[in-house]
Amino acid sequence: MKYTKKDFIHPIPGSRWHHVWSGFVGDKLAILALIIFLFYCLVALLAPLVAPFDIADPAFMDLMNAEIAPSWISGDERFLLGTDAQGRDLLSVILYGTRLSLTIGICAVLIQATLGICIGLIAGYLGGRIDNFLMRCADIQLSFSNMMVAIVFLAIFQSLFGIALYQQLAMIILILVIGLTEWPLFARTIRASVLAEKQKEYVDAARVMGISSKRIMFRHILPNTLSPILVIFTVQIANAIVAEAALSFLGLGMPATEPSLGSLISAGFAYMFAGSWWICVIPSITLIILILVMNLLGDWLRDHLNPRTYKD
């Protein structure tokens, strides 16, 4: 028996992301944050093109130019934001530093996310002993805090293999350490969402259809846990950048020859009280704005996607 045309029910128009987007357009702060963040990303991506100086050029670091104040103070047109104690153009160094910090942050969080998502999915979907064991591990890891583990690990690495090797591998090690220590946050959140999603009947429906566990996990459940992941992802990048900065500040991060924002601040710290405030203050502000923007974006996403982050 066919229904007559009149019987057809037409669905309500409008898409899921539509209201998120319209809410976004309505929120000036969120737009501003996004623009600034995109600007940062762009700048980081294009650092070699945008930077007024090529940092690889031997002439880049000229002690003659050391500690020139930003151009609006010194009137020196060559260096918009002044130079640091080594005579490097601060703008170029900050551009490259931002690039480095963002790279470390994003790569580290990618590792966290991959690891966390896999573990969270497995723990949540399979449940039972595996879940119990993995979550115990996550709890333990989480209670030790990534900073703690990173500090200890980096310190040990430095003393074990010497700083020489460390400085060569600094970036990779930082990414790995920050990446490997924060997975529990992702894992727990994913697991919580998976547990919630697993209760939902569409998963059962898929099982009843005979669809394989792997496909259910990745095709059905995973897309539905994306909104909390997105929120954590944003916030975690901010956290990873802060962690990197803090580690650099302790002398456990990027070496002075390859400065990230954190090591720039750390190096400029000595000049803070000496009159050459810009060496420390400008990278600090750059860092703070970057993190603020990421946090604002994260907040905004959290408010609008309204996921439940991990909680017991």
């Binding site: 703690m148 500090i151 710290f269």
Partner: protein, 326 residues
């Protein structure tokens, strides 16, 4: 209760074994204890003999077993620099760190709670908006910048508080050098604990706000309103207690961050605590100290986590410790 503690104990053993393996590995790999003991003048043959006597030529596991046995008896090796048992050195510095953390926690509790509650119950109020902006910014300013700023403003420019060290301490019960009982000690405590608190405060303000707002949306709060209870009663008796449950959990997790942050704070303020000691030990390649620090910190985490779970179980009647096997 007993079972709960027993379970915890099993877990603690598991954690401590892992930590002790790591710390043993450090001790084993870093530096040659024989060299540290006898200096350069001893011949290689003599050294080898000494190595044999000390069992340093044995296999990894028998060495680890010896290390673990020593660790159980409180022997974590001797610090190269302090020439004292590493555990003693660390335990000497423990009070300083604990006092710092304790004060920071106090500040967090007594400032973050009212702020979070205010921001939750009057979300449109100017003050709570300001609070949220400040906490957003606070969340984004790394702790070391906060600490530097504090030193600059309060110590150097305003000359209000000392910038380093613990100041005058008094001894309590013959085992604890406390800075809490002298004016000088408290003055020294002010800036470090404040910057430590400021670093963690935004997380808690926001968490309390978010949780409180969620709790305020719940049916039982609506029911409480419909019963005609007074507003303070609803906010502080009905809502706050429920709000605190997730806060306690997160608080337990943040304990780890707190310890990590003490390293930063202590470094900047020259606070003679464990964190400062640890960074020093790292710079001096004082491996026994580093591994002892690891073990002590591991112990602290295990204890705090157990405490947090216990508190959680006490506050939350639905999680009877029975379900943990009371």
């Amino acid at each position: 209760m007993l079972i709960f503690l027993l379970r915890r104990l099993v877990q603690a053993c598991f954690v401590m074994i892992i930590i002790s393996i790591i710390s043993f590995a450090i001790q084993d790999k870093l530096g040659d204890p024989v060299q540290q003991m006898v200096g350069m003048t001893v011949s290689p043959e003599e050294r080898n003999q000494l190595r044999n006597e000390l069992g340093l030529n044995d296999g990894f596991f028998s060495q680890y077993w010896r290390f673990a046995k020593g660790a159980i008896h409180g022997d974590l090796g001797t610090s190269y620099y302090y020439k004292e048992p590493a555990l003693d050195v660390i335990l000497n510095k423990l009070p300083a760190t604990l006092e710092l953390a304790f004060c920071a926690i106090l500040i967090i509790i007594f400032v973050a709670t009212p702020c979070g509650v205010l921001a939750a119950i009057k979300p449109r109020h100017l003050l709570s908006r300001l609070l949220m902006i400040v906490s957003s910014i606070g969340l984004s300013v790394p702790i070391f910048i906060v600490a530097i700023l504090m030193v600059y403003v309060f110590s150097i420019e305003l000359n209000m508080a000392p910038s380093f060290g613990r100041g005058q301490t008094t001894e309590i019960f013959g085992l604890w050098h406390s800075g809490l009982f002298t004016k000088d000690g408290l003055k020294h405590l002010l800036l470090p604990s404040l910057s430590l608190a400021i670093a963690l405060m935004p997380i808690f303000v926001r968490l309390i706000r978010a949780e409180m707002m969620e709790v305020l949306q719940s049916e039982y709060i609506r029911f409480a309103w419909s019963k005609g209870l007074s507003a303070p009663r609803i906010y502080f008796k009905h809502a706050l207690k429920n709000t605190m449950l997730p806060v306690i959990t997160v608080g337990g997790i943040q304990a780890g961050t707190l310890v990590a942050y003490t390293i930063l704070t202590e470094t900047i303020f020259q606070w003679p605590g464990m964190g400062f000691l640890f960074m020093d030990a790292v710079n001096r390649v004082d491996t026994p100290l580093v591994s002892a620090y690891l073990i002590v910190v591991g112990g602290i985490f295990v204890i705090t986590n157990t405490l947090v779970d216990l508190i959680y179980g006490l506050v939350n009647p639905t999680v009877r410790l029975a379900s943990h096997g009371l």
